[in-house]
């Protein structure tokens, strides 16, 4: 079956960023997202995920390359100075290219 090249953008951020990040994804044109709680450690110290308020979220979104660029730009400009978070993009192949 034919596959299409897309970007998988992964964001790991403190739970408080949930609302704004999902708003951003929607406004940038993502057609879906996947999310789950994670524990982590980084420049912002440890996030032991013992309390919902102190947990991290990993948010994954499959998007077209141009959307991924927009998202990375806006994350870097608006979100990184504000929240403890990282983001990275990777190449993936999907079926049904028009879905994303």
């Amino acid at each position: 079956m034919q596959t299409h090249a897309m970007k998988l953008l992964t964001i790991v951020c403190e739970a408080h960023a949930r609302g704004p990040v999902l708003d951003l994804l929607r406004s940038a044109g993502a057609h879906g997202w996947t999310l789950f709680p994670v524990e982590g450690e980084g420049a912002g110290g440890g996030r032991p995920a013992d309390i919902p308020e102190f947990t991290n979220l990993q948010i994954q979104v499959v998007v077209r390359a141009d959307v991924a660029d927009v998202l990375l730009d806006r994350l870097g400009a608006e979100f990184f100075p504000r929240y403890a978070m990282i983001a990275f993009a990777a190449d993936v192949q999907v079926l049904r290219g028009d879905k994303f």
Partner: protein, 331 residues
Amino acid sequence: MTLLDAVQANLLSPAVLFFALGVFAAVVRSDLRFPEPLYAGLTIYLLVAIGFKGGVALAEAGLARVWLPALAAMALGALIPFWTYPVLRRVGRLAAVDAAAIAAHYGSVSAVTFIAATNYLQAVGQPYESYASAFLAVMESPAILVGVVLGRLASPRAAGVAPSPGGDASLRAVVHEALCGRSVLLLVGSLVVGVLCGPAGMAKVEPFFVTPFQGVLALFLLEMGLVAGRRLGDLRKVGAFLLAFGMLVPLVNGALGVWVGQATGLGLGGATLLGVLAASASYIAAPAAIRVSLPDANPTLYLTASLAITFPFNLTLGIPYCHALARWLYA
């Protein structure tokens, strides 16, 4: 009972001892963990139980007796940032935004400290007004709003170091959080449910929400000990000023609260609880709101102060202190 006796009785209660056990487990790096859903479940139980109980008491007492102290409690919470902020700025030499954030935490309240105080009063046989949960419910938000406004006025950059995602939406988000945030909603909601059900409803759910309550609190404080203990390492990062601040401010605010309680007609127990509320610092609702609306404020400062200093201080010493003060005032 002298203050010393009271402190000792408090220190030997299951609740405080389990808290100490939790701190110990965190310090020796035990692999003991309460999974996050368990924490969430215990919190929901405690807030619903205390809110519901307060609502039933409110239905029995009638609004007439509650509105004045409740209003005074709100005002007290909203005003606390106005004296703590300058202290944090001048004495502590903290950045404006950090001072505002911390002031917001100390004006707001800690539900678990309040619950532990009701527990303490029961143990020493001190009657109290059960509808005091209503004061807990109304004191959570006002100081947070005041703190956020203080922080934005004092350091306009705080409002937008970077173009805010959603523009002015973030102030709206604070208000939404203040009214519909998890803990406020559970408390106020269960209070209203309790008012509507009254004693007949209480009879049905008492074996779940009242009888085992103290035991659940003990278990929950074990977890809170773990949570606080994990952050003890941050004490070094916050410096001596915040350490002193986190233990002296509760003494002052506690006295204010007890006095306001007496002035507005509460009994000895109720005044003690109002003192404890004023003395306590939020570590759930306030951090959540501040993180979103004053993102420049340093979480290590406000979290460590409220969670790793003031919370254990109140749990062990602050509660008997407020009670002793009230007994002295009412003597």
